[in-house]
């Protein structure tokens, strides 16, 4: 794909479009395999060996092992697929969301209780102070 995308100027956001989907195909399909309990078991037993069964880049595998969700997203991962990884770890969407914002989970949960992250200064890159 060429040219600017209208959503490239939204801060802290990667839009999972056709280009990202191509880049993340194997990473996301690995995630999909974790919908089966026997695969979750095999992954838990030896993560590296399980990842090596998939045609993912080394960078993608390292991001999975480190549970670096922002990195996985930059490498083509989609949050609904990546959810299978934190589900396998017994974690929630709120745990993963807090992790991606760099906030402690309790601070993140409190922010949500107070009405969530404001859209003010969060519409365009460059206008936000703290992401």
């Amino acid at each position: 794909m060429t040219g600017d995308k209208p959503y490239d100027n939204i801060p802290g956001t990667v839009i999972f479009d056709a280009e990202m989907s191509r880049r993340g195909y194997h990473l996301n399909q690995f995630c999909m395999s974790l919908l089966k309990e026997q695969n979750r078991e095999r992954f838990r037993l030896n993560e590296r060996a399980y990842l090596d069964e998939w045609a993912m880049s080394e960078e993608q595998k390292q991001a999975v092992l480190a549970r670096d969700y922002n990195k996985m997203i930059a490498l083509g991962g989609n949050i609904y697929f990546l959810a299978k990884i934190f589900a396998t770890d017994g974690k929630s969407f709120q745990y993963a969301a807090a992790l991606m914002t760099g906030m402690a989970q309790e601070d993140y949960a409190n922010m949500m209780l107070k009405g969530g992250r404001s859209v003010e200064n969060n519409r365009y890159k460059g206008e936000q102070s703290d992401g």
């Binding site: 056709a18 299978k84 589900a87 969301a97 009405g115």
Partner: protein, 280 residues
Amino acid sequence: MAKITAGVATSHVPAIGAALDLGKSADPYWKPLFDGYEFSKRWIAAEKPDVVFLVYNDHATAFSLDCIPTFAIGCAESFQPADEGWGPRPVPVVEGAPQLAAHITQSVIESDFDLTIMNRMEVDHGLTVPLSLMFGQPKAWPCKIIPFAVNVVQYPPPSGRRCYNLGKAIRKAVDSYDKDLKVQIWGTGGMSHQLQGPRAGLINREFDTMFLDRLINDADALSMMPHIDYVREAGSEGVELVMWLIMRGALDAEVEEVYRFYHVPASNTAVGHVILKNKS
């Protein structure tokens, strides 16, 4: 003849299902949310729909990246609740309405909407959480359900306009079905939320309120809103709201607002819920 008797919209957070399944619905965190659906549960028990045409999105459960249909209609006899990684939700099997689904499929395709036909499909929290919110925890769901999955995972989802017009085609299809059935149409997902990246946790109450108001009174113009406005204003996952326009398109131009509820937060998400009926 079959008739669309009401439209329902509701959000569908997985944590809502977990709260209910784990018996936490009376906890201080969750009680205000579930209280907001008490009216709706009484209302639907009195309405007794025969069929719910349930517009929702799959979350990388039935559809991997191998195949991504924009619109997929469930024509099977039944649909099993899926294991999304935490184990399947302990909810009843979803019973389909294959004859009506087949009729709608044919009619809608002949109205120029190219549907993907699902004769086997597992359903995830996108479908089962709205059922739980509206019906509680029965041993069996009290009506038949036609699952209608919309791609909002890989960008771009269908446009709001496309969704709104699809709703009109679904209305025409239901109206031409030769059996006396009370059919409700539900639009699910939304409202403002973002689940990914440093901007996760975004909530925009002002946008959500505007969307609810215009969904009811200005839907035709609202359907022209481009994707970028949803994503920028309501978060990357807020774009799910296009599905509500399918529901709205299947109702008359003028509708009555029977009920409205709005609550922040359910985990990462703003929960919105409306019940609409045609005025006539």
